[in-house]
């Protein structure tokens, strides 16, 4: 499929080139021929006219007899012989000179009639001229053939060389399509032309495809890896129940375990997909101006009862005019996950403060807790997928909440940070670009 099109294209291009070249050359050749033929005929006519003028003068000086004598003498010795006929006023031919071998039908003639009725005719054979022109035509024919040959070969070679980079591009691309090796690249030439630009664009496109494919492959690897553990637990519960003696209560218990574990797998799958989508830039974000105060209110609304029950004070300190451009639902998820994390790690009697501030052109969302804190060596790893610090292993958390926070915030063009003092608490900070509208108002 790849070789037919450019071959046909190349042939068409070559034929166009050759046709134009041949037509141009033919025009020049025919023009040359006709100009030559015309000038040869003109020269013959001039010779005849000159001779006639000469004879007219002679006639006036020497009369018809004198003219006839002079012509006779001249024609026997002249290097360029002509046909001459002199007729007197009685219509009698008194002199006729016809060079040997001349055919009367191939004569070009001119005549002069004198006042007394006498006539002199001068003629010249056109055969020599015809011979010359015939030879000229033969030569021109040869030249034309040569031109056609040059045009075809030249056209072919020119198109071939013009199409060569496209051929190379096609070859490289079909190789990539066939092998699926997106890490291959089309070689870029040194010339700065359109083909080169195309090649570089192709390479850029391949870069992007490769990146996406790699991202998806990694996400798939992670997901399949992360799902193995809960699936093993699920299978284990069912298997243990089946292997033990029949017991309705035990079965009910096992089935409940299975449903709970299946739900966990589902939650995990959804969260992992969200993280992967956010990280690869594939997460659809419905951007609108979102006041961070709303995000905080939502998170507090969700966790108020939980904090109350645990004996934690949950307070907010927000400025209402901090607005970011983002997906409301996703940002609410970020707020909820941060508060969730704080509630989980803060003991009874603790305090969680959620703050919203403006810092230059950034909007800051801070969640401060008076919890257990995070050891310095664990700090960089808390954002990793499925990472759970030693202190939180006992919880039923998934270890995905903070990864999702980071992925969603970064998908919004923001950044996350954390500072912690073990034993005294941690502060998580989300920094997002302020919405342009908010900046204008500010």
């Amino acid at each position: 499929m790849s070789s037919v099109e450019p071959g046909y294209f190349g042939l068409r291009l070559a034929l166009w080139y050759a046709t134009l070249f041949v037509l141009g050359s033919l025009a020049i050749v025919s023009l040359t021929y006709y100009l030559t033929a015309a000038s040869l005929a003109q020269r013959d006519r001039q010779i005849i006219q000159a001779k006639l003028g000469e004879y007219a003068a002679l006639y006036r000086r020497a009369g018809i007899r004198g003219l006839a004598d002079t012509v006779r003498a001249e024609q026997s010795t002249a290097p360029e012989r002509l046909f001459v006929r002199v007729v007197d006023r009685g219509a009698e031919v008194i002199m006729l000179s016809m060079p040997q071998g001349w055919d009367p039908s191939t004569l070009e003639t001119g005549e002069l009639r004198f006042a007394d009725g006498a006539l002199v005719q001068v003629g010249k054979s056109v055969e020599a001229r015809r011979d010359l022109l015939a030879r000229f035509r033969a030569t021109l024919g040869l030249v034309t053939l040569l031109i056609v040959a040059i045009a075809l070969t030249g056209g072919w070679l020119a198109t071939q060389s013009a199409l060569l980079p496209i051929r190379r591009l096609i070859a490289a691309l079909s190789r990539i399509v066939k092998t699926g090796r997106t890490d291959e690249r089309v070689p870029v030439s040194r010339h700065d032309d359109a083909i080169n630009e195309l090649t570089m664009l192709f390479n850029a496109m391949l870069d992007r495809i490769e990146g996406l494919v790699r991202g998806m492959r990694e996400a798939l690897d992670n997901v399949s890896h992360d799902l193995r553990t809960p699936l093993t637990r699920l299978r284990g519960s069912a298997e243990m129940a089946l292997a033990s003696p029949p017991d309705l209560d035990r079965y009910q218990e096992a089935l409940a375990d299975c449903v709970e574990e299946a739900d966990r797998v589902l939650v995990m799958l959804n969260t992992l997909m969200d993280i992967s989508e956010a990280e690869s830039g594939a997460m659809p974000l419905r951007r609108e101006p979102v006041p961070l105060a709303d995000v905080v209110a939502r998170a507090i609304d969700l966790y108020r009862e939980v904090a109350d029950t645990k004996g934690i004070r949950l307070a907010a300190d927000v400025s209402a005019d901090v607005v970011v451009q983002g997906d409301r639902v996703r940002l609410e998820q970020v707020g909820a996950n941060l508060v969730d994390n704080a509630v989980k790690h803060t003991p009874a009697g603790g305090q969680i403060n959620v703050e919203v501030q403006r810092d230059g052109d950034r909007a800051l969302l801070r969640v401060r807790d008076t919890g257990s804190g995070i050891p310095a060596d664990e700090l960089p790893r808390i954002w990793d997928r499925l990472y759970r610090g030693d202190t939180s292993r006992a919880d039923r958390g998934l270890g995905l909440g903070l990864s999702l926070v980071k992925a969603v915030v970064e998908a919004h063009g923001g950044s996350v940070g954390v500072t912690s003092e073990p034993g005294r608490g941690s502060t998580f900070t989300v920094s997002l670009p302020l919405s342009a509208q908010a900046e204008l108002r500010g």
């Binding site: 009910q252 218990e253 089935l255 409940a256 375990d257 299975c258 449903v259 709970e260 299946a262 739900d263 589902l266 939650v267 959804n270 969260t271 659809p284 419905r286 609304d301 969700l302 966790y303 108020r304 009862e305 939980v306 109350d308 029950t309 639902v329 609410e332 998820q333 909820a336 996950n337 969730d340 994390n341 509630v343 989980k344 039923r396 958390g397 998934l398 995905l400 909440g401």
Partner: protein
């Protein structure tokens, strides 16, 4: 009540049919889109449950055609795709609700019943009661055995939701989306916490317990 299930997966169709029959529905099943459409236009159903990926004719086209032929049968879409765009497309094609696989049967049943209710336009009561428990939607007052119980807004919303579905198990996901309108799974189980707070107020001081936990499935008033 008649329900039509258009679903090509035998196992899913069977458990849906069994569950809906237990809930009092008369159930028909079509294993592909053409047969489903045929059944939906020739018979009259109170609700249709339509899978999106079907052999012979896909679910969206079934719904589209059904609506084009002037049928307003409420349709619950089932799909393995969970993106917002898919949901929007399904609802635009004429679906009335959308549920992503895998789902809890309790949630499917609640949604199906809500669709049927909406279609028959039942009159909304202003007072809900269950046993000796009453909840006044207008004055927002809750009493049990004539004792007034003071509930916080979320506790009230949870009780209202449970009472509207009295006798049916509601899942945690359903509670999250009805009480908080939150559609993600929070890491901490905020539903457990709210349920136990509510239980402290409506059950603990009384002899008969009304709010029960069905492990692995959800909660039920019975």
């Amino acid at each position: 009540m008649r329900a039509l299930i258009i679903e090509d997966d035998r196992t899913i169709a069977d458990f849906l049919a069994r569950g809906l029959r237990e809930a009092g529905f008369v159930v028909d099943h079509a294993p592909d889109g053409e047969e489903g459409l045929e059944a939906a236009v020739t018979e009259t159903y109170d609700v249709a449950i339509v899978d999106l990926m079907l052999p012979r004719r896909d679910g969206l086209s079934v719904i589209d055609e059904l609506r084009r032929r002037g049928r307003s049968t409420p349709v619950l879409i089932l799909s393995a795709r969970r993106s917002v765009d898919d949901r929007v497309r399904g609802l635009q094609a004429g679906g009335d609700d959308y549920l992503t696989k895998p789902f809890a049967f309790a949630e499917l049943l609640a949604r199906v019943q809500a669709l049927v209710r909406r279609a028959t336009r039942a009159i909304e009561p202003t007072t809900l009661s269950f046993g000796d428990l009453t909840l006044d939607l207008l004055s927002r007052k809750v009493t049990r055995a004539d004792v007034t119980i003071d509930l916080r807004p979320r506790e009230f919303a949870l009780l209202e939701y449970l009472m509207r579905n009295a006798g049916r198990v509601v899942s945690k996901t359903m509670i999250l989306s009805h009480v908080w309108e939150y559609n993600f799974d929070p890491q901490t189980n905020i539903v457990d916490v709210l349920v136990s707070r509510l239980r402290d107020k409506i059950d603990r001081p009384f002899e008969t317990k009304l709010l029960h936990t069905v492990r692995g499935v959800g909660y039920v008033l019975r």
